[in-house]
Protein backbone atom coordinates (compact mmCIF):
# COMPACT_ATOMS: atom_id res chain seq x y z
CA UNK A 1 0.00 0.00 0.00
CA UNK A 2 2.30 2.74 -1.18
CA UNK A 3 1.75 6.45 -1.04
CA UNK A 4 3.27 8.68 -3.69
CA UNK A 5 3.83 11.93 -1.88
CA UNK A 6 5.80 13.62 0.83
CA UNK A 7 4.14 15.57 3.59
CA UNK A 8 3.18 19.13 2.51
CA UNK A 9 4.04 18.41 -1.11
CA UNK A 10 2.43 20.61 -3.74
CA UNK A 11 0.19 18.57 -6.04
CA UNK A 12 -1.94 19.31 -9.10
CA UNK A 13 -5.34 17.82 -10.02
CA UNK A 14 -5.11 14.25 -11.25
CA UNK A 15 -1.95 13.33 -9.41
CA UNK A 16 -1.92 9.80 -8.01
CA UNK A 17 -1.54 10.07 -4.24
CA UNK A 18 -1.91 6.55 -2.90
CA UNK A 19 -2.84 3.04 -3.83
CA UNK A 20 -4.45 0.47 -1.57
CA UNK A 21 -6.36 0.71 1.66
CA UNK A 22 -6.71 4.50 1.96
CA UNK A 23 -9.62 6.91 2.31
CA UNK A 24 -10.21 9.94 0.12
CA UNK A 25 -10.39 13.05 2.33
CA UNK A 26 -10.70 16.73 1.40
CA UNK A 27 -10.05 17.65 -2.23
CA UNK A 28 -9.23 14.11 -3.28
CA UNK A 29 -11.21 11.31 -4.89
CA UNK A 30 -11.04 7.57 -5.12
CA UNK A 31 -11.13 5.58 -8.32
CA UNK A 32 -11.02 1.86 -7.55
CA UNK A 33 -8.37 1.54 -4.84
CA UNK A 34 -6.42 4.55 -6.02
CA UNK A 35 -6.56 8.02 -4.50
CA UNK A 36 -6.09 11.05 -6.75
CA UNK A 37 -5.89 14.80 -6.13
CA UNK A 38 -8.77 16.95 -7.35
CA UNK A 39 -7.39 20.43 -6.56
CA UNK A 40 -4.09 22.28 -6.42
CA UNK A 41 -2.84 22.12 -2.86
CA UNK A 42 -0.63 20.62 -0.21
CA UNK A 43 -1.11 16.93 0.67
CA UNK A 44 -1.25 15.58 4.15
CA UNK A 45 -2.31 12.23 5.49
CA UNK A 46 -4.16 11.64 8.69
CA UNK A 47 -3.79 7.95 9.45
CA UNK A 48 -5.50 6.27 6.46
CA UNK A 49 -7.19 9.42 5.27
CA UNK A 50 -5.54 11.59 2.66
CA UNK A 51 -6.36 15.29 2.64
CA UNK A 52 -5.33 18.23 0.51
CA UNK A 53 -5.22 21.76 1.83
CA UNK A 54 -6.43 23.55 -1.30
CA UNK A 55 -4.58 26.65 -2.44
CA UNK A 56 -7.41 27.59 -4.77
CA UNK A 57 -11.05 26.94 -3.91
CA UNK A 58 -14.36 28.73 -3.51
CA UNK A 59 -16.72 28.86 -0.55
CA UNK A 60 -19.34 26.14 -0.27
CA UNK A 61 -22.11 26.89 2.27
CA UNK A 62 -22.34 24.78 5.43
CA UNK A 63 -25.09 24.95 8.06
CA UNK A 64 -23.92 26.95 11.06
CA UNK A 65 -21.26 28.99 9.23
CA UNK A 66 -21.02 32.71 9.92
CA UNK A 67 -20.81 34.59 6.61
CA UNK A 68 -20.75 38.21 5.46
CA UNK A 69 -22.90 39.01 2.44
CA UNK A 70 -24.30 41.83 0.34
CA UNK A 71 -27.99 42.44 -0.34
CA UNK A 72 -28.47 42.12 -4.09
CA UNK A 73 -32.24 41.87 -4.46
CA UNK A 74 -35.40 42.67 -2.52
CA UNK A 75 -38.14 40.13 -2.96
CA UNK A 76 -41.75 39.89 -1.76
CA UNK A 77 -40.99 38.51 1.66
CA UNK A 78 -37.24 38.65 1.99
CA UNK A 79 -33.87 39.50 0.48
CA UNK A 80 -31.43 37.76 -1.81
CA UNK A 81 -27.89 37.89 -0.42
CA UNK A 82 -24.66 37.38 -2.31
CA UNK A 83 -22.40 35.31 -0.06
CA UNK A 84 -19.62 34.69 -2.63
CA UNK A 85 -20.67 31.07 -3.03
CA UNK A 86 -22.00 29.15 -6.05
CA UNK A 87 -25.48 29.77 -4.67
CA UNK A 88 -27.32 32.94 -3.70
CA UNK A 89 -28.62 32.96 -0.14
CA UNK A 90 -32.10 33.93 1.04
CA UNK A 91 -32.94 35.95 4.12
CA UNK A 92 -36.59 36.00 5.15
CA UNK A 93 -38.20 39.21 6.34
CA UNK A 94 -39.85 37.51 9.33
CA UNK A 95 -36.41 36.44 10.53
CA UNK A 96 -35.12 40.02 10.58
CA UNK A 97 -38.24 41.63 12.01
CA UNK A 98 -38.67 38.92 14.66
CA UNK A 99 -42.44 39.22 14.27
CA UNK A 100 -44.84 38.14 11.53
CA UNK A 101 -44.15 40.07 8.37
CA UNK A 102 -47.05 41.95 6.78
CA UNK A 103 -46.39 43.41 3.33
CA UNK A 104 -48.90 46.23 3.91
CA UNK A 105 -47.12 47.47 7.05
CA UNK A 106 -43.44 46.90 6.37
CA UNK A 107 -41.32 48.33 3.59
CA UNK A 108 -38.42 45.90 3.17
CA UNK A 109 -36.04 48.46 1.69
CA UNK A 110 -36.34 50.47 4.91
CA UNK A 111 -34.91 47.55 6.86
CA UNK A 112 -32.20 46.38 4.46
CA UNK A 113 -31.54 48.01 1.14
CA UNK A 114 -29.62 46.81 -1.91
CA UNK A 115 -25.91 47.11 -1.27
CA UNK A 116 -26.20 46.76 2.51
CA UNK A 117 -23.80 44.34 4.14
CA UNK A 118 -24.90 41.84 6.74
CA UNK A 119 -23.31 39.33 9.07
CA UNK A 120 -25.46 36.20 9.09
CA UNK A 121 -25.48 32.53 9.94
CA UNK A 122 -26.44 29.78 7.51
CA UNK A 123 -29.64 28.26 8.89
CA UNK A 124 -30.25 25.60 6.27
CA UNK A 125 -28.73 24.38 3.04
CA UNK A 126 -28.74 21.20 0.99
CA UNK A 127 -28.29 20.04 -2.60
CA UNK A 128 -31.84 20.85 -3.58
CA UNK A 129 -32.28 24.24 -1.87
CA UNK A 130 -30.41 27.50 -1.80
CA UNK A 131 -28.91 28.44 1.57
CA UNK A 132 -31.18 30.26 4.04
CA UNK A 133 -29.69 32.81 6.37
CA UNK A 134 -30.63 33.94 9.84
CA UNK A 135 -29.68 37.04 11.80
CA UNK A 136 -31.56 36.11 14.96
CA UNK A 137 -28.51 35.78 17.19
CA UNK A 138 -26.36 38.31 19.01
CA UNK A 139 -23.61 39.77 16.85
CA UNK A 140 -25.48 39.14 13.61
CA UNK A 141 -27.30 41.67 11.45
CA UNK A 142 -26.66 44.76 9.38
CA UNK A 143 -23.14 46.16 9.32
CA UNK A 144 -23.12 49.87 10.13
CA UNK A 145 -19.43 50.67 10.43
CA UNK A 146 -15.98 49.28 9.71
CA UNK A 147 -14.15 48.14 6.62
CA UNK A 148 -14.32 44.99 4.52
CA UNK A 149 -11.41 42.96 3.23
CA UNK A 150 -11.46 39.71 1.29
CA UNK A 151 -9.30 36.58 1.34
CA UNK A 152 -9.50 33.17 -0.33
CA UNK A 153 -12.01 31.19 1.79
CA UNK A 154 -9.57 28.30 2.24
CA UNK A 155 -7.22 30.66 4.06
CA UNK A 156 -9.64 31.63 6.82
CA UNK A 157 -8.24 28.94 9.20
CA UNK A 158 -4.81 30.51 8.73
CA UNK A 159 -6.17 33.94 9.65
CA UNK A 160 -7.60 32.40 12.82
CA UNK A 161 -4.34 30.62 13.65
CA UNK A 162 -3.80 27.76 16.05
CA UNK A 163 -6.45 28.07 18.79
CA UNK A 164 -7.13 31.59 17.55
CA UNK A 165 -3.57 32.80 18.21
CA UNK A 166 -3.28 34.82 15.01
CA UNK A 167 -6.60 36.61 15.14
CA UNK A 168 -6.37 37.46 18.85
CA UNK A 169 -2.88 38.84 18.26
CA UNK A 170 -4.11 41.12 15.47
CA UNK A 171 -7.06 42.24 17.59
CA UNK A 172 -4.75 43.04 20.46
CA UNK A 173 -2.12 44.85 18.42
CA UNK A 174 -4.55 47.00 16.45
CA UNK A 175 -7.38 47.36 18.96
CA UNK A 176 -9.87 46.41 16.25
CA UNK A 177 -12.85 44.13 16.37
CA UNK A 178 -12.67 41.53 13.60
CA UNK A 179 -15.50 39.38 12.32
CA UNK A 180 -14.45 36.55 10.02
CA UNK A 181 -16.98 35.44 7.45
CA UNK A 182 -16.19 31.85 6.52
CA UNK A 183 -16.90 32.83 2.92
CA UNK A 184 -13.67 34.81 2.88
CA UNK A 185 -15.13 38.23 3.70
CA UNK A 186 -13.70 39.90 6.78
CA UNK A 187 -15.11 42.89 8.69
CA UNK A 188 -12.70 45.07 10.60
CA UNK A 189 -14.05 47.70 13.00
CA UNK A 190 -11.71 49.94 14.94
CA UNK A 191 -11.67 53.28 16.72
CA UNK A 192 -10.24 55.02 13.67
CA UNK A 193 -9.58 54.18 9.99
CA UNK A 194 -5.81 53.95 10.58
CA UNK A 195 -6.20 51.05 13.01
CA UNK A 196 -8.52 49.33 10.58
CA UNK A 197 -6.05 49.71 7.75
CA UNK A 198 -3.31 48.24 9.89
CA UNK A 199 -5.41 45.16 10.64
CA UNK A 200 -6.41 44.82 7.00
CA UNK A 201 -2.80 45.02 5.91
CA UNK A 202 -1.91 42.21 8.33
CA UNK A 203 -4.75 40.07 7.00
CA UNK A 204 -3.68 40.60 3.39
CA UNK A 205 -0.14 39.62 4.37
CA UNK A 206 -1.49 36.37 5.81
CA UNK A 207 -3.36 35.70 2.57
CA UNK A 208 -0.18 36.12 0.55
CA UNK A 209 2.03 34.05 2.81
CA UNK A 210 -0.52 31.63 4.20
CA UNK A 211 1.41 28.44 3.45
CA UNK A 212 4.66 29.38 5.20
CA UNK A 213 5.65 28.60 8.76
CA UNK A 214 6.40 31.06 11.54
CA UNK A 215 3.76 33.40 10.19
CA UNK A 216 2.30 34.59 13.51
CA UNK A 217 5.70 35.83 14.65
CA UNK A 218 6.32 37.59 11.36
CA UNK A 219 2.96 39.31 11.42
CA UNK A 220 3.47 40.43 15.05
CA UNK A 221 6.83 41.88 14.06
CA UNK A 222 5.32 43.59 11.02
CA UNK A 223 2.49 45.15 13.03
CA UNK A 224 4.86 46.46 15.71
CA UNK A 225 7.18 47.91 13.07
CA UNK A 226 4.32 49.53 11.20
CA UNK A 227 2.91 51.00 14.42
CA UNK A 228 6.25 52.48 15.36
CA UNK A 229 6.58 54.01 11.90
CA UNK A 230 3.17 55.64 12.16
CA UNK A 231 3.93 56.92 15.64
CA UNK A 232 7.08 58.54 14.31
CA UNK A 233 5.40 60.30 11.41
CA UNK A 234 2.74 61.61 13.77
CA UNK A 235 5.33 63.21 16.05
CA UNK A 236 7.12 64.99 13.25
Amino acid sequence: MPTFFEKKQLVTPGELLAEGDYLAGDNTYAEGNKIYASRIGLVDSDNKKINIVALRAFYVPKVGDIVIGTVVEIGFNGWTIDIKAPYEALLRASDVLSRPFKPQNDELSQVLNIGDLIVAKIASYDRAHDPQLTVGEPGLGKITRGQITKVTPTKIPRVIGRKGSMISMIKQETGCQIILGLNGVILVTGKNPEDEELAMMAIQKIEEESHTSGLTDRITHLLKEEKAKREESKNE
Binding site: T12, G14, R39, Y87
Partner: protein, 245 residues
Amino acid sequence: MNEKPEKLIDKKGSRLDGRKADELRPVKIEVGVLSNADGSAYIEQGKNKILAAVFGPREMHPKHLALPDRMVLRCRYHMAPFSVQERKSPAPSRREVELSKVIREALEPSLFVDLYPRTGVDVFVEVLQADGGTRCASITAASLAIADAGIPMRDLVVACAAGKVDGTVVLDLMDTEDKAGVADVPVAFMPNLNAVTLLQMDGILTPEEFENAVNMAMEGCKKIYALQKEVLKTKYMSIKEEVEE
Protein backbone atom coordinates in the same frame (compact mmCIF):
# COMPACT_ATOMS: atom_id res chain seq x y z
CA MET B 1 2.17 32.85 -47.74
CA ASN B 2 -1.16 31.73 -49.10
CA GLU B 3 0.28 29.53 -51.81
CA LYS B 4 0.86 25.91 -51.16
CA PRO B 5 4.56 25.21 -50.77
CA GLU B 6 5.89 22.58 -53.13
CA LYS B 7 7.27 20.35 -50.43
CA LEU B 8 6.16 20.27 -46.81
CA ILE B 9 8.96 17.94 -45.77
CA ASP B 10 12.43 18.18 -47.30
CA LYS B 11 14.83 15.34 -48.15
CA LYS B 12 16.41 15.38 -44.71
CA GLY B 13 12.99 14.89 -43.14
CA SER B 14 12.69 18.33 -41.59
CA ARG B 15 9.48 20.31 -41.90
CA LEU B 16 8.79 23.89 -43.03
CA ASP B 17 9.79 25.33 -39.66
CA GLY B 18 12.69 22.93 -39.26
CA ARG B 19 10.93 20.50 -36.92
CA LYS B 20 11.27 16.73 -37.12
CA ALA B 21 8.16 14.61 -37.71
CA ASP B 22 7.55 13.87 -34.03
CA GLU B 23 8.50 17.27 -32.66
CA LEU B 24 6.14 19.76 -30.98
CA ARG B 25 6.20 23.48 -31.57
CA PRO B 26 7.66 25.47 -28.65
CA VAL B 27 4.97 25.77 -25.96
CA LYS B 28 4.77 28.52 -23.38
CA ILE B 29 2.04 28.54 -20.73
CA GLU B 30 1.08 30.94 -17.96
CA VAL B 31 -1.69 30.67 -15.37
CA GLY B 32 -3.58 33.31 -13.40
CA VAL B 33 -3.04 36.04 -15.97
CA LEU B 34 -6.43 37.75 -15.57
CA SER B 35 -7.52 39.30 -12.29
CA ASN B 36 -11.24 39.64 -13.02
CA ALA B 37 -11.78 35.97 -13.89
CA ASP B 38 -11.95 33.25 -11.23
CA GLY B 39 -9.31 31.34 -13.15
CA SER B 40 -7.30 31.99 -16.28
CA ALA B 41 -4.49 30.72 -18.46
CA TYR B 42 -2.54 31.84 -21.51
CA ILE B 43 -0.85 29.56 -23.99
CA GLU B 44 1.55 30.12 -26.85
CA GLN B 45 2.10 27.10 -29.06
CA GLY B 46 4.21 28.07 -32.02
CA LYS B 47 2.46 31.13 -33.43
CA ASN B 48 -0.81 30.37 -31.62
CA LYS B 49 -1.69 32.81 -28.86
CA ILE B 50 -4.72 31.86 -26.81
CA LEU B 51 -6.29 33.20 -23.65
CA ALA B 52 -8.73 31.18 -21.53
CA ALA B 53 -10.86 32.53 -18.67
CA VAL B 54 -13.15 30.65 -16.29
CA PHE B 55 -16.01 31.98 -14.15
CA GLY B 56 -17.91 30.01 -11.56
CA PRO B 57 -19.38 27.81 -10.38
CA ARG B 58 -22.08 30.42 -10.08
CA GLU B 59 -25.85 30.81 -10.44
CA MET B 60 -26.96 30.00 -13.95
CA HIS B 61 -28.28 32.89 -16.01
CA PRO B 62 -30.77 32.55 -17.63
CA LYS B 63 -32.13 30.48 -14.76
CA HIS B 64 -34.08 27.99 -16.88
CA LEU B 65 -30.81 26.56 -18.19
CA ALA B 66 -29.81 25.35 -14.73
CA LEU B 67 -30.13 21.61 -14.17
CA PRO B 68 -31.52 20.31 -10.86
CA ASP B 69 -28.96 17.55 -10.42
CA ARG B 70 -25.77 18.79 -11.99
CA MET B 71 -23.51 21.67 -12.87
CA VAL B 72 -23.66 23.04 -16.41
CA LEU B 73 -20.48 23.74 -18.32
CA ARG B 74 -20.66 26.40 -20.99
CA CYS B 75 -17.87 27.18 -23.43
CA ARG B 76 -17.30 29.94 -25.88
CA TYR B 77 -14.50 29.59 -28.39
CA HIS B 78 -13.94 32.84 -30.20
CA MET B 79 -11.37 34.07 -32.66
CA ALA B 80 -10.39 37.71 -32.54
CA PRO B 81 -10.88 39.57 -35.85
CA PHE B 82 -7.11 40.09 -35.99
CA SER B 83 -6.20 36.48 -35.23
CA VAL B 84 -5.88 35.46 -38.90
CA GLN B 85 -4.44 37.12 -42.02
CA GLU B 86 -7.77 38.02 -43.59
CA ARG B 87 -9.97 39.86 -41.06
CA LYS B 88 -12.39 37.43 -39.47
CA SER B 89 -15.88 38.66 -38.70
CA PRO B 90 -16.26 38.83 -34.91
CA ALA B 91 -19.66 37.13 -35.11
CA PRO B 92 -19.51 33.45 -34.17
CA SER B 93 -19.05 31.37 -37.30
CA ARG B 94 -20.27 27.83 -37.87
CA ARG B 95 -16.76 26.58 -37.11
CA GLU B 96 -16.56 28.49 -33.82
CA VAL B 97 -19.91 27.19 -32.63
CA GLU B 98 -18.76 23.67 -33.38
CA LEU B 99 -15.42 24.13 -31.66
CA SER B 100 -17.16 25.54 -28.59
CA LYS B 101 -19.16 22.33 -28.37
CA VAL B 102 -16.13 20.15 -28.99
CA ILE B 103 -14.09 21.93 -26.31
CA ARG B 104 -16.96 21.68 -23.84
CA GLU B 105 -17.28 17.97 -24.43
CA ALA B 106 -13.54 17.48 -24.08
CA LEU B 107 -13.46 19.27 -20.73
CA GLU B 108 -16.68 18.00 -19.16
CA PRO B 109 -15.46 14.47 -18.28
CA SER B 110 -12.72 16.01 -16.14
CA LEU B 111 -15.21 17.77 -13.86
CA PHE B 112 -17.33 16.43 -11.01
CA VAL B 113 -20.53 17.87 -12.45
CA ASP B 114 -22.82 16.32 -9.83
CA LEU B 115 -21.03 18.07 -6.97
CA TYR B 116 -22.63 21.50 -7.42
CA PRO B 117 -26.15 21.10 -8.80
CA ARG B 118 -28.03 24.09 -10.26
CA THR B 119 -24.83 26.02 -10.96
CA GLY B 120 -22.95 26.91 -14.10
CA VAL B 121 -19.31 27.25 -15.08
CA ASP B 122 -18.42 29.50 -18.00
CA VAL B 123 -15.26 29.00 -20.01
CA PHE B 124 -14.22 31.69 -22.45
CA VAL B 125 -11.51 30.94 -24.97
CA GLU B 126 -10.20 33.84 -26.97
CA VAL B 127 -7.85 33.12 -29.86
CA LEU B 128 -5.60 36.16 -30.29
CA GLN B 129 -3.45 34.66 -33.01
CA ALA B 130 -4.14 31.44 -34.87
CA ASP B 131 -1.74 29.12 -36.62
CA GLY B 132 -3.34 25.68 -36.75
CA GLY B 133 -4.21 23.39 -33.87
CA THR B 134 -6.08 26.06 -31.91
CA ARG B 135 -8.72 23.65 -30.62
CA CYS B 136 -6.03 21.58 -28.96
CA ALA B 137 -4.18 24.53 -27.47
CA SER B 138 -7.56 25.92 -26.30
CA ILE B 139 -8.39 22.72 -24.43
CA THR B 140 -4.95 22.69 -22.79
CA ALA B 141 -5.33 26.31 -21.65
CA ALA B 142 -8.99 26.01 -20.60
CA SER B 143 -8.25 23.00 -18.42
CA LEU B 144 -5.51 24.92 -16.63
CA ALA B 145 -7.84 27.87 -16.15
CA ILE B 146 -10.38 25.53 -14.53
CA ALA B 147 -7.72 24.22 -12.15
CA ASP B 148 -6.71 27.80 -11.39
CA ALA B 149 -10.33 28.64 -10.55
CA GLY B 150 -10.22 25.97 -7.82
CA ILE B 151 -12.89 23.80 -9.38
CA PRO B 152 -12.37 20.16 -8.38
CA MET B 153 -11.39 17.97 -11.30
CA ARG B 154 -10.38 14.38 -12.04
CA ASP B 155 -7.32 15.32 -14.06
CA LEU B 156 -6.00 18.07 -16.26
CA VAL B 157 -7.03 17.67 -19.89
CA VAL B 158 -4.31 18.00 -22.51
CA ALA B 159 -4.76 18.06 -26.24
CA CYS B 160 -2.48 17.73 -29.21
CA ALA B 161 -2.94 16.91 -32.90
CA ALA B 162 -1.14 14.65 -35.31
CA GLY B 163 -1.68 14.39 -39.03
CA LYS B 164 -0.39 13.27 -42.38
CA VAL B 165 1.69 15.56 -44.50
CA ASP B 166 3.46 14.54 -47.74
CA GLY B 167 2.87 10.89 -46.96
CA THR B 168 4.38 11.03 -43.45
CA VAL B 169 2.61 11.06 -40.11
CA VAL B 170 3.67 14.18 -38.21
CA LEU B 171 2.94 15.74 -34.81
CA ASP B 172 1.35 19.12 -34.02
CA LEU B 173 0.43 20.52 -37.44
CA MET B 174 0.71 24.23 -38.09
CA ASP B 175 -1.64 26.14 -40.36
CA THR B 176 0.13 25.53 -43.71
CA GLU B 177 0.58 21.84 -42.98
CA ASP B 178 -3.04 21.57 -41.90
CA LYS B 179 -4.34 23.19 -45.07
CA ALA B 180 -1.97 21.49 -47.52
CA GLY B 181 -1.75 18.18 -45.69
CA VAL B 182 -3.78 15.04 -46.11
CA ALA B 183 -5.25 14.50 -42.65
CA ASP B 184 -5.48 15.96 -39.15
CA VAL B 185 -6.24 14.00 -35.95
CA PRO B 186 -6.75 16.09 -32.80
CA VAL B 187 -6.68 14.09 -29.55
CA ALA B 188 -7.47 15.29 -26.03
CA PHE B 189 -6.96 13.10 -23.01
CA MET B 190 -6.42 12.85 -19.28
CA PRO B 191 -2.97 11.31 -18.86
CA ASN B 192 -3.29 10.00 -15.30
CA LEU B 193 -6.55 8.24 -16.01
CA ASN B 194 -5.51 7.32 -19.55
CA ALA B 195 -8.93 8.43 -20.82
CA VAL B 196 -9.45 10.05 -24.21
CA THR B 197 -12.01 12.89 -24.16
CA LEU B 198 -11.70 14.11 -27.75
CA LEU B 199 -10.82 12.23 -30.91
CA GLN B 200 -11.51 13.67 -34.33
CA MET B 201 -10.21 13.00 -37.81
CA ASP B 202 -10.34 15.27 -40.79
CA GLY B 203 -9.01 13.69 -44.01
CA ILE B 204 -8.13 10.20 -45.10
CA LEU B 205 -5.80 7.79 -43.30
CA THR B 206 -5.28 4.05 -43.45
CA PRO B 207 -6.04 2.21 -40.18
CA GLU B 208 -2.30 1.81 -39.54
CA GLU B 209 -1.65 5.50 -40.14
CA PHE B 210 -4.55 6.41 -37.89
CA GLU B 211 -3.23 4.31 -35.05
CA ASN B 212 0.21 5.75 -35.59
CA ALA B 213 -1.18 9.30 -35.54
CA VAL B 214 -3.20 8.74 -32.33
CA ASN B 215 -0.18 7.28 -30.55
CA MET B 216 2.00 10.14 -31.71
CA ALA B 217 -0.58 12.71 -30.58
CA MET B 218 -0.79 11.04 -27.17
CA GLU B 219 2.97 11.18 -26.80
CA GLY B 220 2.78 14.89 -27.63
CA CYS B 221 0.02 15.31 -25.05
CA LYS B 222 2.20 13.77 -22.37
CA LYS B 223 4.95 16.27 -23.09
CA ILE B 224 2.53 19.18 -22.81
CA TYR B 225 1.01 17.65 -19.66
CA ALA B 226 4.40 17.72 -17.96
CA LEU B 227 4.61 21.40 -18.84
CA GLN B 228 1.07 22.08 -17.56
CA LYS B 229 1.92 20.56 -14.20
CA GLU B 230 5.19 22.41 -14.01
CA VAL B 231 3.53 25.76 -14.74
CA LEU B 232 0.87 25.23 -12.07
CA LYS B 233 3.47 24.21 -9.53
CA THR B 234 5.86 27.07 -10.26
CA LYS B 235 3.02 29.57 -9.90
CA TYR B 236 2.22 28.41 -6.39
CA MET B 237 5.84 27.69 -5.50
CA SER B 238 7.01 31.17 -6.48
CA ILE B 239 4.86 32.68 -3.74
CA LYS B 240 6.51 30.36 -1.27
CA GLU B 241 10.01 31.29 -2.37
CA GLU B 242 9.36 35.01 -2.30
CA VAL B 243 8.49 34.70 1.35
CA GLU B 244 11.47 32.59 2.28
CA GLU B 245 13.98 35.08 0.88
